[in-house]
């Protein structure tokens, strides 16, 4: 299970909507509790591709985020990105570029009126949906 606060969920949605039709992206960090992941901080990073169908995290911002996680005792948990006009599921490219099987890959779809956020465990070409719980702050 992966837990995300409502305020962090809103932060992701708001940024993704503001960036659309460009894909938005960022990192998630927090705590591991057994098999559960608890997201304590969402990082918004620049998509250096500035593209509607691709994203790459800005390495300089990624470096800053990694240091911030360490300074705050947070564990890197994975990343998130938006699909402005496609479903909340990993594309072939998402799976091909998912190098860390311990990470959670969150994908926010904006294709419908209501945003849809799912989290995935990706290993090789297999993606498995994780139980995602949005909790009130």
């Amino acid at each position: 299970m992966i837990k995300l606060s409502k305020s962090d969920y809103d932060k992701i949605v708001a940024h993704a909507q503001s960036e659309a039709p460009i894909e938005a992206c960022g990192l998630i960090a927090g705590e591991l509790n057994g098999n559960d992941k608890i997201v304590k901080k969402v990082y918004i990073l620049t998509n250096v591709d500035h593209a509607e169908e691709h994203f790459t995290l800005d390495p300089k911002e990624q470096l800053f985020a990694v240091k911030d996680m360490r300074a705050n005792g947070l564990t890197p948990l994975g990343n998130w990105h938006s699909h402005p006009v496609s479903p909340s599921r990993p594309s072939d490219e998402d799976k091909r570029l998912a190098y860390d099987s311990s990470a959670s890959y969150m994908i926010l779809s904006l294709m419908d009126d209501e945003p849809v956020l799912n989290s995935f465990h990706i290993e090789g070409d297999k993606a498995e949906k994780e139980e995602l719980v949005i909790v009130q702050d």
Binding site: D49, L57, L63, K67, R70, H81
Partner: protein
């Protein structure tokens, strides 16, 4: 000499290169790893020539990207 790798201080041999450190640290998918030394990004083509110095701070950043 002592260097810091991903926030952890380590004793390593003098003359250690970034390329050798990547091997020693058993970095997964090294072709997709970006390395910084004292916050400066090191090009992949410079891994062999980049010799670390006492007190250096090294970070490994894994490429993160995708597409819909």
């Amino acid at each position: 000499m002592k260097i810091t790798v991903a926030g952890i201080k380590k004793e390593v041999a003098d003359g250690l290169t970034v390329a050798q450190l990547v091997i020693d640290e058993k970095v997964e998918t090294p072709e997709y790893v970006t390395v910084t030394v004292n916050d400066d990004f090191v090009d992949h083509g410079q891994f062999e020539e980049t010799v670390l110095k006492d007190g250096d701070t090294v970070e490994f950043l894994y490429f993160m990207g995708g597409g819909q």
